[in-house]
Structure formats: C-alpha cells, structure tokens
Symmetry: C2
Subunit: 403 residues, 2 copies
C-alpha cells in the first residue's frame, strides 16, 4: 500500500504547491469555488497598483499594455481549452459573456434560418446560465427549453444548445465532442460553459469544432475573487458575430470616438466596457501558472486525489457519492441528509468544502496545490465525524448567508 506521503514524494507537480500562498492549519477543498492565491500575485498587484496606476497613471494603457491585456490573457488561457490564441478574450463576467454569446449565436443562426429561436439547456444547470437565457428570452426573439436528454431534444427549432461541460454540483461531464457533433448534425450551435473545466481537466474546443464557450477566471485559474471571465468564439464565426453588448472597447477604433458602432476585427468585438484592470492582471498570474504546470498533469493528479478521497470514505455511514465514478470533473459531491451540518463541522476542523442545497456536500480537488496527505487527512476527519456523529451540534446546524 502506497502512503499519501509517498504519493506526494512521487508527484511530478508537487513543486507547484510552493507557487501558492496557503493558510496554515487549513485543508482547502473549495478551489472549485475560489482558487488559492498564487505566490507571485501580491508583488505583481502591488507593482500594478503603485508603479503602473500610481506612477504612470493614464500612460499605463500604452506603457504597460493594459489595452492589450484582455487579448493577451485570453491567449494564455487558449491552450488550456484547445483554442487558438485569437479565439479567446477576457472580459466581464461569465454571466455577461453568456448573454453576449447567446444573443450573438441566435443572431448568427437566424442569418440562415430565422425560424430557429430555441435555446436548449438542461434542468439543474448552473443557475446563471439559465437565468441569462431567461433574461434574453424575456426581451423577445428567443425561447428557453429544458430537456434532460439533450441529444434527443435537439430539433429544427434549436438555435443554440447551452450546457456546462462539467456540472457544478455533480461534476458529471458532458461529451463535448459528441454533443457538438449532434448539434451540428441538426444545424444548431453549441455554447459551452467551461467554468468547472478550465484548468482542471483537458478541453479540446478546436478538436470538437466547437462554436462558442465561456469560462470562469476565479476557480481553477486562480485569478482572485470575481476575476473576469473569458469568451471563446471559433474563428470561422467571428467575422459575422455580433455582440449585442457593443461597448466602446469592442469598437474597431475605440479612440476615434465616432457616433456609430463598428465592431473590431476578430474576437476583440466581444469586449464591451473598460476592463477591471486590477482583477484582470491578477488573473494573468493565475492563468500563466496553470498553463505552466500543464493541464494533463493537473488532470491526472486531480483524478488521483479524488480517487484517494473516495477510497478513504468507502463505508462511511450515511454518505453517498453523487458524482460519477468514471468521467468527471475535479470535484466530488456527496449526499447526506445532514450535509449542511457536516460541512460546518468540517470547517470547524479547518477543512473547507461547501454545501449545496439541499443535501450535498462538495469537495474540490485543485491539483495545483493540494497534497495527497491533505486529502487523506480530510477524509480521515470526515470519517471520524460520521462515525462519531460529531457533526450533530447546534452550532453546525445554523445557516450562513453564503456558502
């Protein structure tokens, strides 16, 4: 039997943990919600704030290429998702980018078949995906339909299929290539939400011939709280692609200050307003670091970490794995009738996972900074809590505002 310490000693990306700053006495199993702080980020942000903003002020847009940052950081994310550098841009939030791409995708599809107005998604998707589609539908010209069997539900009304690649709760993975192909076979486009994929498991948008995608900067990319998101539009669609959020940063000549909008060439037309530069430049550090460690090694370690966790919990009373045993993302969900109290009891012991209504406790295994020893130790505490009922104390039942 190989010990966790031996696994750590043999870990080819074990070096990466030192590239992060992590709190003492905490085992952080929530990197799927908010990634940890890269060690290089504080000094870089201090330089951005003090030297670039404070010292060079407005001239930093040129001198420090702030103006190029959305495309530059997008290009650094691109290889993690099988995209070309000029197919990805960083802008706004996942939610806002969903709106741009849903509306743009519908308009693109309508150029060929104006009768197609359905956005097809599945019940239980990450809420903002459904909410943004509902907001767009309420403006008229689109309809959101939900179906559990997506390939079977794609029909002649379907304009855009909207799916999370990795499910935020269960970590179930959709077959990106197969669903893209099924949609294309019925002349529909697909918009993939890669928020729980990027930086954790390999994604090959190019190989699948994918159309559009969005993803999150503050989970496995470690860009910091609320880091801006990214948007992907396949190069073949870009020239005809129109974002309804046609802000000045996506203009062909933003500093010509003309009255009429003309979209920038290529992916830059997905920009809207002035990007939040502090948050964007923090994301650059995180994305660079993940790209350097390498997605294949990260994915392999993620798999090994979560397999270790599952094995250590085998037979723990009342706990039921709610994630797939085979293909899955980098987190695990377990059902337990007292999931909330268990989550709180773990936090009190320095183990940070999260609770998802009504009965899910979720653990993320961010492979860049978690050790096998951490995962084994967390599992041991969880087994102890379940064996002893140590979670059943009044303070663990109180509900928090945010989880």
């Amino acid at each position: 039997m190989v010990t966790p310490a031996e696994l750590d000693a043999a870990d080819p990306i074990g070096f990466a943990r030192e590239r992060f700053i992590l709190p003492e006495g905490v085992i952080y199993l929530d990197g799927n919600s908010l990634g940890a702080l890269p060690r290089a980020t504080p000094a870089r942000l201090a330089a951005v704030i003090e030297r670039e903003w404070g010292g060079d002020l407005i001239t930093s847009w040129n001198r420090h290429d702030w103006i190029g940052a959305p495309a530059r950081v997008g290009a650094k994310i691109a290889p993690l998702i099988g995209a070309a550098a000029d197919e990805v841009i960083v802008a706004d939030s996942v939610s806002v980018n969903l709106f741009k791409l849903l509306a743009g995708g519908l308009a693109l599809r309508a150029q060929q078949d104006s009768g197609r107005r359905v956005i097809l998604s599945e019940p239980g998707s990450f809420p903002t995906d459904l909410y943004m589609a509902q907001g767009l539908a309420a403006m008229g010209g689109a309809e959101l339909r939900l179906a559990s069997d997506i390939p079977a539900a794609i029909d002649g009304d379907t304009a855009v299929v909207l799916l999370s690649h990795v499910h935020y709760k269960s970590a179930a993975v959709h077959d990106l290539a197969a669903i893209t192909a099924a949609a294309h076979a019925r002349s529909a486009l697909v918009l993939w939400d890669l928020s729980h994929s990027v930086g954790a498991i390999p994604v090959d948008l190019g190989g699948a011939g994918a159309d559009m995608a969005v993803g999150c900067g503050y989970k496995y990319l470690n860009g910091g709280p609320g880091a801006p998101a990214f948007a992907f539009v396949a190069r073949r669609h870009q020239a005809a692609f129109a974002s309804p959020l046609s802000g000045w940063m996506g203009h062909a000549a933003p500093f010509a200050f003309t009255d009429d909008y003309a979209p920038a060439t290529g992916i830059a037309r997905l920009l809207c307003g002035t990007p939040p530069m502090l948050s964007l430049l923090a994301l650059e550090i995180g994305a660079e670091l993940i790209a350097e460690i390498g997605i294949d090694r990260l994915a392999a370690k993620s798999r090994a970490l979560s397999n270790l966790f599952i094995a250590a919990l085998a037979g723990a009373p009342g706990l039921q794995l709610a994630s797939p045993t085979h293909t899955r993302g980098s987190h695990l969900a377990f059902r337990h009738p007292q999931a909330h109290a268990i989550c709180q009891a773990l936090i009190a012991r320095g183990i940070i996972g999260d609770f998802r209504d009504p009965d899910i406790v979720r653990f993320g295994f961010a492979p860049a900074y978690l050790r096998f020893a951490d995962v084994a130790a967390a599992a041991a505490v969880l087994v102890e809590l379940l064996d002893t009922g140590g979670w059943d104390r009044p303070e663990f039942h109180a509900r928090r505002a945010v989880t």
Copy 2:
C-alpha cells in the same frame, strides 16, 4: 494679485493632496480619464489579496462581507449624486449598466405605453452610450434617435432620454432637473450618464426626481483602472424594474440554486455576475475619500482651478476654449489645429493631459489632489510652447494607439 501659492495656502481641502500618491515631476491633468492612487489603497488591497483572498479564501464572502460590497460601495457613492443609499449599486462597467438600464427603462415604459420604443440621445455623446443603445436597438424593439435640441425632440415616441450630464469632451453640462422635468412632462424616462460628473460637481438626482443613472468609478472617484461602475434606479421604479442581464448575483436567493430567475428586492436586482472584488474594493477606498473631502468643496476648487487655467492662457496664440465659460464640469477642452502635437509636447514636459480627435486637447482639474501652483505651472509651460512653437517637433506628431 493673489499668487497660486497663496491660493494653495488658503485652500480648505489642501490637506487632501497628501491622501494620494502622485509621481514626482508630473502635473497630472487627466484625472478625468483615470483618477490618481489614494494613499490608503495599496495597503488595503494588499490586505484584501493576502489576508482575505489568500488567508480566508472562500469564507471571505461572509467573513469580510465581500457579498455586501456592491451595495455598500453604492451607498457610499449615493450622497455624491443626491441618491438614497438603497438606490445605487456598484456592478459591471458603465457600458453594461447602460444596457441594463436602457432595456429595463424601455420595458418599464412599455408597461404603460407599448408604442414607445425610441431612445433619444444627442450626436457626439460619449461613444459607448450610443453604441450600447445601437446594440440594444439591433436586437429589435428599440430605435435610437439623435437630436441636438433634446427638449424639443422629446415626443410621444420617446421612451428613454439618454444623456451625459457633463459632456466628456467639452465639459458642457445639461440641466439635469430641467431635462428630467421636460421628459416627465411628455411621459418619458431619463437615463443620465454621470461619468464626468460624479466626484467633480454636485448632482442631485433625488431633487430632480431622476429615473435612472450610471457612472464611472475610475475617474473622479479614483477607483483604479477599469474600476466597476455604478447604477442608480429611483426607488419608485425598482419593484417593477427588470434587468435583461438577470445573472445569479441579482437573484432573490443566489445560493438557493433554483432553475428560475426571481429578482432580488430593490437595487440588488441590477447585479449580474460575480463582481471583480479587487477592483471593487479599490473603488471603495476612492469613493470614501471623495465623500469625506466633500463634493461642494471639491466643486468649488475645481472651478477655481480651471478659471485660473483659463485666465493664464488668455491670449495664447492659436488656442481656442471649447468649453463653456459658465456652467461646466471639471475639465476644459481647447481647440488647436495641432492639438495632438501640443498634447505630446506637454507630456514630454511632464504635463499629462489628453488629446481627442481631431483637434481637442483636454485638461482635467481633479480638485482632490491638484494644487493651484500645479495648474499655474502647467499653464505657463503651455503658453511657452505656443509662443515658441516648441510643440512642432517630429516626435510630437507621431500618433499613439491610445490617448
């Protein structure tokens, strides 16, 4: 004759300059594009990054009230614009907020009169205002019309009047109360862009009975490059107000993870995705500082600074004031056929203004950190350059990508 040094000595807000970090050897007349760095910001952001993000990780959403930051910072901006604390929220960019409010305003108006679909604005408005309206119009259901005489152009088709309170180029000021009243008299709503007003001149949205407004966080509020923007919706409109960008952060219960969108009570429904927390918490420092200095004192000093500049330039050859001599914002525009080269020649002398196509050189007088002596010195250099033709060198004619 009172000297600039005497004016500085008598300046009731002269203390405020020390609350900023400013580069040596530079006179910064572009705080209307990017505000300067508050002295408190680097340490605060270092704490946010290292202690909150790095140390407390996901628990910071509760422990450090990240979740409350958009409303909290909005409430700090509110008194600067004559709004109640629960009428302002910080979110996204000016551009994105324009889209929310234009679409929401049109829908609100359509509840009473579905025939109204015109957004009325003026030619030469700040581009993103027009571009966002064009993007919305291209989705159907809205039409953008431009007119130079806005009060005369408001008619039975007008749903929303969209105007900058202070013009980004000329600093001309619209009469916010009078135009709001004229619009209301014809049953139209008004959306005010306060980007060049907030923190520089008094705004009284409440006194005017204004409907909606947006504004910029990175100009006179000193929130840092690309700081998030704010949105105002009058309390009386909030319950019926629907943002088409209905993201999860604007949901009544974001962490219930339900499939159906239900807007939060009040202004929080204007939130969309997860806010860029580093940029948002930097804005909090800047907004607090401006509120503490006080908008009336800031406006009075701004006026005195720009009057001094105008007086010092009287008779400078070839330069023509392109800003109003009476009511105006906190910057000045001058026309000169060689405005670009003049702007570059000033930068080479450490005086940072900006150029706006085709023939405008623009100077901002951020009253929180500029001294009378700075403004007098900048004017003296400009007079010298104009008297001697010192701007007419090849390196000053080369165009930069961004100004």
